[in-house]
């Protein structure tokens, strides 16, 4: 199963490192990553594969949310199907 992780917040050093570390700890592979500044906010979008991880999507969501609270950014974890459904015919 693949998930899209979106990190939005004020730009500062170490955001990518902490999110990537958290994912690596759970054997979640990052397949694609992009980052930009949208409306003044740091925005990073990652396509992640949970195939080798023991975590469910809900557990991954909770873990990343806790991390987001700690480092002061908002982290969304969503099944990729929602975007495929809503934005592709």
């Amino acid at each position: 199963m693949k998930a899209i992780v979106t990190v939005i917040g004020k730009d500062k050093s170490g955001i990518i490192a902490s999110v990537a570390t958290a994912l690596a700890e759970e054997k979640i592979n990052i397949e694609d990553i992009s980052q930009t500044i949208v409306q003044g906010n740091f925005t990073m979008i990652m396509l992640c594969d949970l195939q080798n991880s023991k975590l469910t999507l809900a557990e991954m969501h909770n873990k990343l949310q806790t991390l987001g609270d700690k480092i002061g950014v908002s982290i969304h974890t969503q099944h990729e199907d929602i975007f495929n459904s809503m934005h592709k015919i």
Binding site: I8, L57, N84, M86
Partner: protein, 453 residues
């Protein structure tokens, strides 16, 4: 992103975070025909058991799906076979079933259970009359039960005896729930052309033509449509329609995905997606504000009916393409107390009951969540119902009345139901009586469907 468009991801997150996009309800329809027995106690017990078993995981599954897809699922609900069909063997004891249904709703943790309903569009049997008379007490002794009565249809005309009775029932319900400002009436809808697969309360019931257990999903998103329209300021109206269609498509696709997954996980048939724009009283979730964005200084101005018609139609066109099974009420709801823009318009008297009635000819439902003075006569309420039914019957559409004659309140005063039901100023009804017309009873014959003018 190689596979997924970055803009689409940000747009989806903004829709939820800033524009109040949500799946408004996952409603499980359950057939209770197999629970009919001779006694009230036994029937009630079987109904309770079946609901608790079939819908045991509805809240858990909805919460999991909400987390997975990052789309809030606000309400989890159950609709049942119209209860008047279950109570025929024990007239006078209907409320025993009402209590059991309410207990079942509480046990599985859903906020509303719909289907304390009767379908009497052509005639009323003695057991249906007894059932309808039990509605005020049923709504008094329960918290989560919703009731509806279908009194007319394009096929069979309007049952005016039932229209008369329902005016009285609404008054009695208001009296019985007086200490909560007549709250019982917020859970009671009178329909013409009621649909069998509506997931929205208070009018949901599980029609007899439906399967054993069905998942129907209602999506919403007035805020998303409103936001999208900001990008076409000053554009010709056909561009407005196109923008609404595209937005409705995206919203409905999310509903379709969640409906499909929910039915799989709950071991139920996938019924329909109801693509209604259903407002809530919070800022940024208003249908009235969409109409104002199109170019009205206030909802209620001349042009309101036209704007609502194009909105309602564009929502359907966009949604139909997005889901294999569109149904329910699909369109636009215009409740007064549940929409901040409508509340404001009613406060400054920009909108009247008369204009609302005109709007119901092109919206998806009818006179909805309108508070009227507590001393309004039963026959006047029946008159409002008859007018709405006539609009529905002639135009082949669903119409409904959900009015609350708030005990001891007068025009200009306020009522606050709290939460999703919102607050509303008491609106003025006509000072002139229709009592003689209502007292005639009988049935308005079904209309002719050719020679339309």
């Amino acid at each position: 992103m190689s596979i997924i468009d970055r803009k689409a991801i940000i747009e989806t997150i903004d829709m939820v975070e800033k524009e109040h996009f949500d799946v408004r309800t996952i409603t499980m329809g359950i057939s209770l025909l197999s629970c009919i027995r001779d006694s009230a106690k036994e029937t009630a017990r079987l109904c309770y058991d079946k609901i608790c078993k079939k819908a045991e995981n509805i809240v858990k599954v909805a919460d999991e799906l909400s987390l997975s897809y990052g789309i809030p699922i606000i309400n989890k609900r159950v609709s049942i076979t119209p209860a008047s069909m279950l109570t025929a063997n024990f007239t006078g004891e209907e409320v025993v079933l009402a209590k059991a249904l309410d207990d079942a709703a509480k046990n599985i943790g859903i906020d509303f259970l719909g289907g304390y309903s009767a379908l009497v569009q052509k005639g009323t049997t003695s057991f249906e009359k007894s059932f309808i008379e039990s509605i005020p007490e049923a709504l008094k002794i329960t918290d989560r039960l919703c009731s509806s009565v279908n009194v007319g249809s394009s096929k069979s005309g309007i049952n005016m005896d039932a229209v008369k009775l329902m005016g009285e029932i609404i008054k009695k319900t208001a009296e019985k729930t007086k200490k909560n400002d007549g709250l019982g009436c917020a859970k009671l809808v009178v329909f013409c052309n009621a649909v069998e697969d509506n997931p929205f309360m208070a009018g949901a019931f599980h029609g007899v033509g439906e399967g054993e257990t069905v998942i129907n999903v209602g999506v919403s998103g007035p805020g998303v449509v409103h936001h999208a329209l900001k990008s076409c300021a000053g554009a010709p109206i056909n561009e407005v329609c196109e923008t609404i269609k595209k937005t409705a498509f995206k919203i409905t696709r999310a509903g379709q995905l969640i409906a499909k997954e929910a039915s799989k996980k709950l071991n139920a048939e996938f019924g329909i997606v109801d693509l209604s724009l259903a407002p809530t009283p919070v800022m940024g979730d208003s249908v009235a504000h969409i109409l104002e964005e199109i170019g009205l200084s206030s909802v209620g101005a001349h042009g309101t009916t036209a704007c609502l018609a194009l909105l309602n139609d564009a929502v359907k066109k966009g949604g139909v393409m997005a889901s294999g099974n569109v149904g329910g009420l699909s369109g636009t709801f215009i409740p007064v107390s549940e929409d901040i823009g409508m509340i404001n318009a009613a406060e400054k008297q920009a909108i009247s009951l008369d204009k609302l009635e005109a709007m119901t000819a092109v919206c998806s439902v009818g006179i909805d969540m309108v508070a009227i003075a507590g001393d309004t006569s039963a026959s006047t309420i029946s008159g409002i119902i008859a007018d709405e039914c006539a609009i529905g019957m002639i135009n082949n559409k669903t119409t409904a009345v959900r009015v609350i004659p708030v005990p001891d309140k007068k025009v200009g005063e306020y009522v606050n139901f709290g939460g999703l039901l919102g607050k509303a100023p008491i609106m003025k009804v006509s000072d002139y009586s229709c009592e003689t017309f209502i007292n005639r009873g009988g049935r308005i014959p079904a209309p002719i469907h050719s020679n339309k003018n």
